[in-house]
Amino acid sequence: MFRKVSFTFLLALLFVAVATAAFAAEGTAAGTSDSVKTFIALAAGFGIAIASFGGALGQGRAIAAGLEGIARNPSAQPKIFIPMIVGLALIESLVIYSLVIAFILVGKM
């Protein structure tokens, strides 16, 4: 399973690298600003994609662990619940950071 996922990821990465090179070559022909815009768009897209992927993974793990703990020991709910909320808020804030950076990058296009 992990092999398949990593293979697919590497394939996607290779595809993007090839596409980037192609876009860069086109940009050189048309002018520098076009290639810069391409890289800005790529950076914004990849940045928010990686951030949301990591954030979703982290939030999913946090909620799963918290709910499992509460289900196993319901009396421990107050001790588990607040740190879980804090963790969710922190993860969400990190994703919002990258969203802000992505907005800034898109604004530069």
């Binding site: 509460i70 709910q77 107050p78 001790k79 619940f81 607040i82 740190p83 879980m84 909320i85 804090v86 969710l88 808020a89 922190l90 969400e92 804030s93 919002i96 950071y97 969203l99 802000v100 907005f103 800034i104 604004g107």
Partner: protein, 132 residues
């Protein structure tokens, strides 16, 4: 989800409560704003205040929504997913408006948004000192 506000658990160790954490977030937001004012970067103040308000509001709404969802005995209240998604969309819209409007300094906004992290750090440090 009853928040008793009790600072200590049965084992004597300090317990993290949402109310004290919210207080710490507000304190850290005040410290961030005061720091910016002391440095003299007044143009960053509105952005920082906006970021701090968004960070505090986000934490407050997460606590409210999840607190209501888990308040039902032996189950989870329906509809909390919708509320959570709506909150997230509102958060994204607010961030979009703040960043793209150009009226707020983005660095100040990020500093204000960081008051959540500073609040958590403050809470952790204060609880560590209390435990000792």
């Amino acid at each position: 989800m009853a928040d008793t506000g009790a600072p200590r658990g049965s084992d004597g160790a300090s317990v993290l409560t949402s109310r004290s954490l919210e207080r710490k977030i507000l304190v850290s937001a005040g410290v961030v704003l005061a720091g910016i004012a002391i440095v003299g970067e007044y143009r960053m103040l509105p952005g920082a205040a906006c970021g701090a308000a968004i960070a505090y509001g986000n934490f407050f709404l997460i606590r409210k929504i999840l607190g209501k969802a888990f308040s039902v005995e032996g189950g989870i209240r329906k509809g909390f997913v919708v509320q959570y998604v709506l909150k997230f969309l509102a958060l994204v819209a607010a961030v979009y408006l703040v960043v793209r409007s150009g009226r707020f300094d983005v660095l100040g906004f990020l500093l204000g948004l960081s008051s959540l992290f500073f609040g958590v750090l403050l809470e952790g440090l204060s609880s560590a000192v209390e435990t000792k």
